[in-house]
Amino acid sequence: MNKVLIANRGEIARRIIRTARAMGLKTVAVYSEADQDLPFVEEADEAIALGGKRPLESYLKQDKILDVARRTGADAVHPGYGFLSENAAFAQAVRQAGLTFIGPEPKLVAMMGDKAVARSVAEAHGVPVVPGTEGLPDVSAARIEARALGYPVMLKAKAGGGGIGMQRIDDEAMLEKSFAQAENRARAAFGDGTLYLEKALVRARHVEVQIAADRGGEVVHLFERDCSLQRRHQKVVEESPAPELPLRLREKIWEAAVRLARGVSYTNVGTIEFLVEPEKETFYFLEMNTRLQVEHGITELVTGEDLVAWQFLISMGEPLPKKQFELYAKGAAAEFRIYAEDPVTFYPSPGTLQTYEVPHGEGVRVDDGYRAGNVVSPFYDPLLGKLMVHAPDRAALLTRARDALSAYRIEGVKTNIPLLLKVLDDPRFIEGAVHTEFFTQPM
């Protein structure tokens, strides 16, 4: 492997370029018309325009991206997260073009991409799943199943993911009202309108395990991340380790994640998401993400490992850099996602970054995709960057995070920083009493 094409944009493209360069790999960036002035375009060794602005005209154009790989002589493709990262057909097309796809085997991308299949695979490997149904033929089947599960339930798209195409249903009237609409949306968004139901867990925590596996069948976990603080199923704050979660429960969750990864002969890095009910000490498989996760950086902070380097090494056929007993998690780390959005209405806030200054200092890491003068366009997600903070313990972490967040100077777009500062002052967060309904309750 000599040259890697990065089929992504913004902060994650920069993140991948950084490690690729450190490993002596050449990098090729691809970019849309809307992104031509962003830092990742000039930081790559080569940058090729894809044209277009919308994802469908640019970062989702598989043929064009593969054509760029051929023309530039790239021998590997890193998909980052989002866009084509969990598209099995793309992973397959990359291989058929004779290139290395930085990720797992295409069949595993497909297996975990079908959420109903993923559930049954998890069950088959002794990993508990949230009680739920198969794909539902119609609303009357949904009505019968929902009664059996008991409300509230989650109505989900079989082909969905990343929180898209799911909603909480509190009663039968809401189910009747929502079913047809959800079906249409799922069909429009994913090309498959099939829906299924899951029991909605109340005040549960979202805990995910970072795993890594090499081609020799070695599998390790790199501990967990708590991503309970979500709004509309989009993560806002992530922490590692998960606060106030007993070690014996964390160990069981790590063990289940490793068992599943080993059971399906997974390779590369991946994340297995669970819903956890801490009081009952129960946990359920939610889904597996067969790619690098947005919040991978906090795992890097506590373990001292470079997960992008692990991805490249695994793809080169190398063994994992560390064995399980050599991995340690030190201190506490948290990630705060800096979004261009109104902190009160949560509306997106595209615009031009007139001022853009980020915090620096001990235990502070910022991965971001923009600099002053850049336009934050409405075509992609609102993530400006990620503030990651690391400290010897959680109390020190919260102090450091408050200082770092207060040091941001951003003008030209609205950001959620005021909301993040409120989170840091919220007694529930300070105590580590986080759950997925945090933002639906008054702060």
Partner: protein, 72 residues
């Protein structure tokens, strides 16, 4: 009165037709911005007199979307 875009984005769905009667608070257009769907509703009830945009159009903040002739 005109219903205006609250942020830059793309017209995802137009939910009304010219000549149609709408109630105050009814959604008339859904915009898409930064991977979010943002419904835009009419603050007044009345008749849809003009639709200034088409689905897929890129629009700026403040751009007119739909003109509603208020009815008492």
């Amino acid at each position: 009165m005109d219903v205006q875009a609250q942020m830059a984005g793309t017209v995802f769905r137009i939910l009304v037709e010219a000549g149609q009667t709408v109630n105050a608070g009814e959604d008339v257009v859904i915009l898409e911005s930064m991977k979010m769907e943002i419904p835009h509703s009419t603050p007044v009830g009345g008749i849809v007199r003009e639709i200034y945009v088409q689905e897929g159009d890129f629009i700026d903040e403040g751009q007119k979307l739909v003109r509603i002739e208020a009815q008492p």
